[in-house]
């Protein structure tokens, strides 16, 4: 069956991103017109649910006008911190599928998936996986365009909104593009559009068949040649992964200050496992490990160490973090927070590993990768270090060891 052969680029765009996050936060808003934006006299709409859009509400419209169009809309102020957090989560989902992720903004990105299709099936299967995982992990929907090139993928995702998925196969590209207005082409803003209209070119198809001299006279030689290429679906641009995340870390604020080094060690192990899992998921390895300790008086210190070789192994991160902690030689000083951070990240696939004498052939990394697979199959907590387990005396079942006094102050913070 022909599905998505020849398609290697996904464009993923969150549907009504800020508004969807607000609906996720307050499920009672589901199905209602919701506007995220300033409520004051000069407030403008930054995002609106499709229910609100049905009334003609759109971004950048003054909120007052939006409320005239849709008097029943719920207006909520924006929470950029929350949106950024969700955005990082979404990008992390993308990066767990392919390292080649080019974010365009907080809520959209290109993914180059020709590598991932070897593991995950064709580009359509990858697109379905992206949609499912974004919904499962972040509780919001997105639309995905699947195409041989970036700009066709972007047009396809827009066309499929909301919660859609549109595949444009190579032989369908021209048929897909040519009916579109010239304004749909990348790089055609209002002025270029006007210039093209002035010479009678209104659709991409007309532009594609126009004499190249006419095109170049209208919009200049470079732009003319470029638009012509685009009109035939030719777009040589590759997906360029953005500057890699410079670090990833996790930290834990204890419910009550802790001075027992064993408890702190265990927390460091827990954090290291989590950070390492995130590194492996993103295909990264850390060159440097940083320990963060905040004391009860809120003074905060960090200590870093560069690893002999880049690593994504929880045990290696933990050993390093623990050595850094022990080197502080704290004499039962009350600690409020500990954090472990992986820094100076490298691509796991590109790092070579110097083998050492006396190492077991299947080392700790293989064990952790196997645990990742078990977690992917059976859910979080399926496999974890024995130190983080407690045996339940009655049923004999293993369960997570109690973390020290989680409630009410305990806060966890992960970031990318």
């Amino acid at each position: 069956m022909e599905r998505a052969e020849g398609c290697r680029v996904l464009h993923v765009d969150m549907d009504a991103f800020f508004a969807s996050v607000e609906v996720r936060r307050d499920p009672s808003l589901a199905g209602r017109p919701v506007i995220v934006g300033g409520a004051g006299g000069r407030g403008v709409v930054t995002s609106a649910t499709y229910e609100a859009r049905a009334f003609g509400v759109h971004s950048a419209m003054p909120t007052a006008r939006a409320l005239r169009l849709c008097p029943d809309a719920v207006v909520v102020p924006g929470d950029m911190a929350l949106y950024s957090e969700v955005s990082r989560g979404v990008m992390a989902v993308f990066r767990s599928i392919t390292p080649l992720v080019e974010p365009l903004s907080v809520d959209e990105a290109f993914l180059e998936v020709s590598g991932a299709t070897r593991r995950l099936g064709d580009a359509l299967a990858v697109a379905e996986l992206v949609k499912a995982r974004v919904f499962d992990e972040q509780g919001i929907t997105c639309s995905v365009g699947v195409a041989p090139t970036k700009f066709v993928a972007k047009l396809a995702s827009t066309r499929s909104k909301p919660d859609g998925l549109l595949v444009v196969r190579p032989h369908e590209v021209v048929g897909f593009l040519h009916p579109l207005p010239v304004g749909a082409l990348w790089g055609v803003g209002p002025r270029t559009e006007e210039a093209l209209h002035a010479v009678g070119l209104r659709t991409v198809g007309q532009l594609a068949h126009a004499p190249v001299e006419l095109l170049q006279q209208a919009v200049g030689p470079g732009s003319g040649a470029h638009l012509r290429e685009l009109s035939w679906g030719r777009d040589p641009r590759h997906v360029v992964p953005d500057e890699r995340e410079k670090s990833t870390g996790a930290e834990e604020t204890f419910g009550r200050d802790v001075d027992d080094p064993r408890v702190i060690h265990r927390e460091l192990l827990h954090l290291s496992e989590r950070v390492a899992g995130r590194l492996r998921g993103a295909g990264h390895q850390a060159r440097t490990v940083t320990l963060k300790v905040r004391f009860s008086d809120f003074t905060t210190i960090t200590r870093s160490r560069t690893l002999p070789a880049p690593s994504d192994v929880g045990q290696v991160l933990y050993d390093t973090a623990r050595e850094l902690f022990d080197a502080l030689a704290l004499d039962r000083v009350a600690v409020r927070l500990v954090g472990v951070r992986a820094e100076r990240l490298a691509d796991a696939g590109a790092t070579s590993v110097q083998l050492a004498l006396g190492e077991r052939e299947h080392g700790r990394r293989d064990a952790e990768l196997a645990a990742d697979r078990a977690v992917a199959r059976f859910g979080a907590g399926a496999v974890r270090p024995a130190t983080l387990l407690r045996r339940d005396g009655i049923t004999g079942r293993s369960q997570a060891a109690p973390r020290p006094d989680r409630a009410p102050r305990t806060t966890r913070r992960d970031d990318g």
């Binding site: 070789a309 696939g349 590109a350 790092t351 070579s352 110097q354 083998l355 050492a356 004498l357 052939e361």
Partner: protein, 380 residues
């Protein structure tokens, strides 16, 4: 104390002793060089409780004596002296040095606070000095430099009657060399761990005479001392009190394939290709029948290099990665025209050894040298 000595003789002895002075002495007197004149003999000594060095030179003296002077300063002065006889006189708390038209007056250090040098332990045996220097150099190159792992900073020295085996490893390579010597008593058996840097330094600089005498005391735990004496020079070092890895079990005895490498041409090629291998990135060696292709670099923002080199190889094609430094260290240590490299697989240790012409069956010969390298697992 008053003596006259040839400038070259003095500067050699002082420079040799000064090398073992501690860079950051725990007590000030240890930064000193002890000069002692007795009859027609001057001894120039240094000691830092770990390593001692003593050089003896002939002088014409008119007054015996002992004085302790700042070692580095003395070494710099003596090295810079004009080519004339040197006159040295102790004058109260100072030492006067005159040579040609140059005059120096140095403060002295309290000689009574200086620790006495350990005496040489009992003689264990005698070895040809050049052979010893070669063997130690071949092995010490593989020793670790990380002082937090003392076991790996040493050279294991095993004596079994008339054979000595040296071994060292930093976990990434393991070098083993055997040689013959003359033990003081037959049937002698001992095994000690000697700080590699000290041993390599001593062996290299004790080649002025034909032979080196090894002396050994392994008293209480950690109190063992190795003494090395050549012509006019002797040094002692405290032994490391650590277990050494069971290296004989690590060294593979069989291989799946092997290559015969022209050491000079292969080394030159490896050095060229390694120029683009940034720190920590491997040299990729692709062995195919009759040749090896070396590659390094590869990603878009690095340089790339490749070079082919004719070798004798007739096994299944093998691609194996090495840290270029580790490979070049081994190639520089085999000291033969051609080297044999034995492989098991791309992720198992490879073993480099000297290839004695004509070709032999591959069994390690007595007196042989073997240099094991752990490969680098290549990406992908």
């Amino acid at each position: 104390m008053k003596f006259r000595v040839a400038r070259e003789v003095l500067s050699d002895a002082v420079a040799w002793t000064a090398r073992s002075l501690p860079p950051r002495p725990s007590v000030p007197v240890l930064a000193g060089i002890l000069l002692e004149v007795q009859g027609a003999s001057l001894s120039v000594s240094g000691f830092d409780y770990e390593v001692s060095a003593r050089a003896e030179v002939d002088v014409s003296s008119t007054e015996d004596g002992r004085t302790l002077v700042p070692g580095r300063l003395l070494a710099e002065i003596v090295r810079a002296l004009p080519p004339h006889p040197v006159d040295v006189v102790a004058e109260g708390a100072r030492l006067a040095i005159s040579c040609g038209n140059a005059r120096f007056s140095l403060p002295t250090l309290p000689v009574e606070d200086y620790p006495s040098l350990p005496s040489l332990p009992s003689t264990a045996g005698v070895v040809d000095s050049d052979a010893f220097a070669e063997a130690v150099g071949q092995v010490a190159v593989a020793a670790g430099r990380d002082d937090t792992l003392p076991m790996l900073t040493g050279v294991r020295l095993e004596i079994e009657d008339d054979r000595v085996t040296l071994a060292a490893t930093d976990r990434y390579r393991l070098a083993v060399r055997e040689f013959a010597w003359r033990p003081e008593v037959s049937g002698l058996s001992a095994a000690v761990l000697v700080p590699a840097r000290t041993l390599a330094d001593a062996a290299k600089t004790l080649t002025s005479g034909p032979e080196v005498v090894l002396s050994l005391s392994s008293g209480g735990a950690g109190e063992g001392i190795l003494g090395l004496s050549g012509k006019d020079r002797q040094t002692t070092t405290r032994l490391l009190d650590a277990e050494f890895v069971k290296y004989r079990a690590i060294m593979p005895n069989e291989s799946a394939s092997h290559a015969l490498l022209p050491v000079g041409a292969f080394t030159d090629a490896a050095k060229r290709v390694a120029l683009v291998a940034e720190r920590g990135t491997p040299l990729r060696c692709e062995f195919t029948p009759g040749q090896v292709t070396l590659r390094a670099g590869g990603t878009d923002d690095e340089g790339q290099a490749e070079e082919r080199c004719d070798v004798e190889f007739d096994g299944d094609p093998l691609t194996i990665g090495f840290n270029p430094t580790f490979l070049l260290d081994g190639l520089a240590s085999v000291h033969t025209e051609r080297a044999r490299m034995d492989f098991t697989s791309a992720l198992k240790p490879a073993v480099l050894s000297g290839h004695e012409e004509p070709a032999e069956d591959g069994a390690p010969r007595p007196g042989s040298y073997r240099y094991l390298i752990m490969p680098v697992r290549l990406p992908g």
